[in-house]
């Protein structure tokens, strides 16, 4: 599955998810855009502290949640991501002061419009995870994977070429 944007650097060596044919065995693929200063560090902390979380997530590191262009998220959904997570610093903690504030409005409108058009709620997730919240990051990922798994493979907005 070729993704737009830079090659995802995986933190811990992540096993290749087994995309089993049957619904039970099927594992969703989640694309996560993590802001470098908080959420990526939070994910790193989860890895270092050996906190287990599902391996379905493909992490793309970005300088700030404000860097995320809605086209990235739509492109991810097009190229077969079953779920997309965007996570940045809590408001007030942004390394660039206001990146996440701008992003918050952009994501609010994007999520609202995507779900208005009919994308199942639960496909696209937004979160704030600080560098110290390794625990929260792991539970966030498990929650997202579970929710997306319940929705089944992505069909809407998927580009079949």
């Amino acid at each position: 599955m070729a993704l737009a944007g830079p090659e995802p650097e995986s933190i811990a060596s992540q096993p290749e998810p087994v995309s089993g044919p049957s619904q039970g065995g099927w594992e969703p693929t989640i694309v996560a855009f993590l802001c470098n200063w908080c959420s990526y560090a939070g994910a790193d902390l989860a890895g270092i502290s050996r906190i287990q979380y599902p391996a379905n997530v493909r992490i793309i590191r970005v300088p700030c949640s404000g860097r995320i262009n809605p086209l990235f998220i739509i492109k991810a959904l097009q190229t077969g991501a079953d779920g997309v997570l965007v996570s940045g610093c809590h408001p007030g903690d942004c390394h660039y002061i206001s990146g996440n504030y701008y992003a918050r409005r952009r994501f609010a409108l994007l999520k609202s419009l995507l779900e208005f058009v009919g994308l199942e709620p639960g496909r696209v997730h937004f979160a704030w995870v600080s560098a110290a919240e390794g625990e929260k990051f792991a539970s966030l990922i498990s929650g997202v994977v579970q929710e997306v798994k319940a929705l089944g493979p992505a069909e809407r907005l998927v580009k079949v070429s």
């Binding site: 739509i74 918050r104 419009l113 058009v117 009919g118 979160a127 907005l157 079949v160 070429s161």
Partner: protein
């Protein structure tokens, strides 16, 4: 006080245009002239005072002429309805136009005719001639003639319009008209109706509606706010949006087109009226307009100095959706 007839408004418009051109105040007046089909007008660019007589004004002046402003050189006068003036305000706040090069001829507007409503009413009968007489539309074809109240054929957006009188103008033609009061018609009833549907129903609705899109980009070309030198649709490195007529590509195009007008769209309806296959494109834009008004208390094109909603923020912006 007797309501000013549309014809009187038209004569005043012609006089003003003639004066502006004769006194060399502007180089061109962008307005409407009679079209070649019933109930149609066509944009016109008048450069000589004597030709000002071509200008017309009535409920068929449906185009948003602000679309032509960015390509004009020199001093320009433009005939602007309430919604057009809001689009001009957005262009000004985005530094696309020089205010001093612009003479805005505001016109009090009771709303424009929706040609699709006329077509639906006529069913398969062919409209051969039509005239607007006061609050009535008189139309006829081969061996038949009927008239209908204009209100029943108005563009939906005009039924809930609160800027019948433009907020921004250098001269106003016609008495100011009160905007429709807040309660006249629950302003976002159409959006609420779609929101009430389930995700599957909405996906089915938008898939079938947008799958008819020809990709002719009339919606993009008719919109005064769509002026990117290279549209995201035309980019190939990376190719953000496929070029086929598959539903995924069509929905992707219209989602991103709507996103790019978030906080800027004045809901003038020019995109939907330009669509040759009559797709209801406004619902995507109106959903964003409703959200932005609800969450950020902002409406586009009312205040040229206000920052666009996506160009600013408040620490207490709503964030229930964030985990």
């Amino acid at each position: 006080m007797r309501m000013e007839t549309v014809a009187e408004v038209e004569t005043k418009l012609r006089e003003l245009a003639g004066v502006l051109l004769a006194e060399g105040k502007v180089d061109v007046v962008i307005g409407y002239e009679r079209g070649t089909l019933p109930l149609r007008t066509t944009p016109c660019f008048i450069r000589e005072a004597e030709a000002a007589g071509k200008l017309v004004w009535d409920a068929t002046c449906e185009h948003n002429l602000a679309r032509y402003l960015r390509s004009q050189r020199g001093r320009v006068a433009i005939v602007a309805k309430g919604c057009d003036a809001r689009a001009i305000t957005v262009l000004l706040s985005e530094r696309q136009l020089a205010r001093d090069q612009l003479f805005i001829i505001g016109v009090a507007c009771q709303g424009v005719v929706d040609r699709r409503k006329v077509q639906a009413y006529l069913a398969d009968r062919e409209l051969q001639q039509a005239t607007l007489a006061g609050a009535q539309v008189v139309f006829g074809g081969e061996g038949w003639q009927e008239s209908l109240p204009l209100k029943e054929l108005l563009w939906d957006g005009c039924l809930t319009c609160r800027q019948h009188t433009p907020l921004l103008y250098d001269a106003l033609i016609g008495e100011p008209l009160a905007g429709d009061s807040e309660g006249a018609l629950e302003e976002y009833a159409d959006v609420a109706a779609l929101e009430a549907m389930t995700a599957d129903e909405r996906w089915a609705h938008f898939s079938s509606e947008l799958s008819r899109c020809l990709r002719c980009y009339a919606c993009r070309q008719a919109c005064p706010l769509c002026y990117c030198p290279e549209c995201f649709v035309d980019q190939t490195q990376p190719a953000w949006c496929g070029k086929t007529d598959e539903t995924t590509d069509l929905i992707t195009f219209h989602i991103v087109r709507a996103l790019h007008s978030a906080g800027r769209c004045a809901d003038c309806g020019a995109c939907s009226r330009a669509c040759p296959v009559g797709i209801d494109l406004r619902s995507l834009n109106r959903k964003l307009i409703k959200d932005i008004k609800q969450w950020y208390g902002y409406e586009a094109g009312l205040d040229p100095d206000a920052l666009a909603p996506l160009a600013t923020f408040r620490p207490d912006d709503p964030q229930e959706f964030i985990e």
